[in-house]
Amino acid sequence: MRHTIAVIVENKSGVLTRIAGLFSRRSFNIDGLSVGATDNPEYSRMTITVEGDDEVLEQVIKQLSKLINVIRVTELVPAESVERELAVIKVTADKDSRSEIMQIVNIFRAKIIDVSARSMIIEVTGDEEKINAIVQLLRQFGIKEMARTGKVSMIRGARVIKA
């Protein structure tokens, strides 16, 4: 099973290494990891996706909590949270395929952020499934390059995860 956890960490050098090191040492499987700023410059927020049963998840949370630079670890239950990921995708596009690609972009409420004679860059945000779906559709034109951010996630409603 896949679990998503939000980890608030002190914004100090080496913290990412500590977390990555912990996962490899304890043989936890990371599927995805994204890091970024929070509203407080002293803390960063990581969103980590891990594979494993409930016991593994419990160990992941407990072991992460033991790290001195980790302030808070929270599981984000999919049904109660929103998830977003961003991808930029460079596809082969010439005058014959351009309009068809633009249709797909519209349906997915994605954006074209660069055009050249033989390519386009598409930016799309959404949950993982949505991004997988557009990627699947764009394959027929030829994907030259792709970069995805890994997901960020937040609990719906007024509840907050803060340091």
Partner: protein
């Protein structure tokens, strides 16, 4: 008022404020400023001969006193030489602060001379570590490091100290510790204690299973009150040895791979296990799927991550062992001895820990018994292997701070430097390292440290001429193919080795010489090495084979080729190879 000082002086002032009275270390280029400050201070510094020794000394000091042990090593090779000692302290949750020199901050990352990324290297074997980048952070970091090392589940903390940081001037301040991400849990939840007490009262066949956590929490008195109030038998892990007096009728001794049969039987038959500060290590549980099949498990631990890590737990109690045991003792009402105690006493009678005494060749177990008889209050440290298991089995331990052994990492070469550290912390105690001939050589250079600093520890080598524990496994499971385990007894001559360092060397080759040698060693106030030439064929028994259930514990046959054992042939062959026919 200005409090300006150098970074090095700030380090020493921080150590002083943390109550550090002795450090173990060895200098190097980047540490020159720090060592210059040490020279001018009143800090007691013990110069070691290898940095691994320094780490184990700090560790032994910490285990014998309960205080934080401190070791110092220079950058690069000095720092990497500490690694085994740090890993050892991490596995056994020993409070320790390791200080390493580092190259100047502007050289870090440039592969400068003697640069090693020691914070990177020690990341998985420290509770936390720091690379100091500015002198103004010194006092905060030292204060945090000592706090982290000694609170919650203790552990080693490393501080990497670049040279320029020790030279820069800084205003001395002593900031309060503020660590928003660190909450060592102190008090156990009352509800959980109530539940645990209820389970204990309802149990018909309870066993208390005690680990090193009880020792670090200094909760042995609370343990005693609880166990004796409800007449529950107590078994300890290697790390928990001494937390419950082994001469008490409720004591089951050690459990697990080389534990007593009765401890293992009791665990397997129990309907409730109260685990306190123990972590269900594989050497204890054996085959985990068939461990204590009928037992409800109550687990008291200060580290929440240990609860549920290896076995399912029915009643978790996260918190300090002292406080939790005290709470439990108040909740339970006295219980008399019953059928369960009788059953255990029966097992104890039927399957005692024994060995076959011998009049002609020294049995290693006999040496331990004699040590126990002649120095019952000594602090015992051990090396690793058969010597360690016999020391655990045949010495009657009664004090948690008086049995010091490398459990989690199983580090050969630990016991002797640990003994030096222990003696520095508890100079009033006799300290004896029970050693194997293989292990002792791994840090024998510290004989110089002991002699030069006049630290009168005693070493008892159970000299079997082989890497005994590994040889035992080869005998049992590899058809006596003794691949790379025969050391021979000719090299070195341990008595001469001791004498070369200026220590006292004594040897016993016959059982009748054992007692006089021990008496002579105890009578001297100099570092003394006792070389006991013991039966090489002796095995540690009983034994749970790897992967078996712990009740499948075997009594091993003692020795299969008469008194001398089949090993002597190996020795004579080897001597012939080295010295020719006449040499043997």
């Amino acid at each position: 008022m200005s409090n300006k000082m150098t970074g090095a002086q700030a380090v020493l002032e921080s150590l002083k404020r943390e109550g550090v009275d002795v450090v173990f270390g060895l200098p190097g280029g980047v540490l020159l400023p720090l060592y210059d400050a040490i020279y001018q201070s009143d800090l007691h510094h013990i110069l070691v001969r290898h940095e691994q020794g320094a780490a184990h000394m700090a560790d032994g000091y910490a285990r014998a006193t309960g205080k934080v042990g401190v070791c110092i090593a220079t950058s690069g090779p000095g720092a990497t030489n500490l690694v085994t000692g740090i890993a050892n302290a991490y596995m056994d949750s020993v409070p320790m602060v390791a200080i390493t020199g580092q190259v100047n901050t502007w050289l870090i990352g440039k592969d400068a001379f003697q640069e090693a990324d020691i914070t990177g290297i020690t990341l998985p074997i420290t509770k936390h570590n720091y690379l100091l980048r500015s002198a103004k952070d010194i006092t905060r970091v030292f204060r945090e490091a000592f706090y982290i090392a000694r609170t919650g589940r203790p552990g080693p903390v490393l501080i990497d100290l670049p040279r320029d940081v020790t030279v820069d001037e800084v205003e001395f301040t002593w900031p309060e510790v503020s660590l928003p991400g660190y909450h060592p849990s102190f008090k156990a939840h009352e509800m959980q204690i109530k539940k645990a007490a209820k389970a204990l009262m309802e149990a018909e066949r309870p066993v208390i299973y005690v680990g090193g956590g009880v020792k670090y929490a200094a909760a042995h008195r609370e343990l005693y009150s609880l166990a004796t109030k409800i007449n529950a038998p107590v078994t300890t892990t290697l790390m928990g040895i001494g937390c419950f007096p082994e001469d008490h009728p409720l004591s089951l001794g050690m459990l697990g791979m080389h534990g007593t049969k009765y401890a293992n039987y009791a665990i397997q038959e129990s309907d409730l296990i109260l685990a306190v500060g123990a972590r269900f290590d594989d050497r204890v549980t054996g085959k985990i799927s068939s461990f204590a099949p009928r037992a409800k498990i109550v687990h008291i631990d200060v580290d929440p991550a240990e609860v549920g890590k290896n076995v399912r737990v029915d009643i978790p109690v996260v918190g300090d062992a002292k406080n939790a045991l005290e709470g439990l003792e108040k909740e339970v009402s006295p219980k008399p001895k019953g059928a369960w105690n009788e059953k255990i006493d029966g097992w104890r009678k039927d399957h005692p820990l024994t060995y076959i005494p011998d009049m002609t060749i020294i049995k290693p177990q006999y040496v331990i018994e004699k040590l126990c008889e002649l120095a019952p209050d000594a602090i015992i440290t051990t090396e690793v292997g058969q010597n360690q298991m016999w020391a655990a089995q045949f010495f009657v331990h009664k004090d948690p701070q008086k049995f010091i052994s490398s459990g989690g990492l199983g580090t050969m070469g630990y016991g002797f430097p640990a003994a030096i550290g222990a003696k520095m912390g508890r100079p009033e105690c006799e300290v004896i390292d029970i050693a194997g001939d293989g292990s002792f050589l791994m840090n024998s250079q510290e004989l110089a440290t002991a002699v030069v600093n006049d630290i009168p520890v005693k070493i008892a080598i159970l000299n079997n001429g082989c890497l005994g524990m590994v040889r035992q496994w080869q005998e049992l499971f590899f058809e006596k193919r003794y691949s790379a385990t025969i050391l021979g007894r000719t090299s070195p001559d341990f008595v001469k080795l001791a004498e070369a360092y200026g220590a006292v060397g004594l040897r016993a080759t016959k059982p009748s010489e054992v007692e006089p040698v021990i008496r002579a060693a105890l009578a001297t106030d100099r570092p003394t090495l006792m070389d006991f030439i013991v039966n090489p064929a002796e095995k540690v028994s009983p034994m749970v084979p790897a992967g078996a259930t712990i009740s499948e514990i075997l009594e091993l046959e003692w020795c299969d080729e008469g008194h001398i054992g089949h090993l002597e042939k190996h020795y004579s062959d080897q001597r012939k190879a080295i010295f020719g026919e006449e040499g043997c």
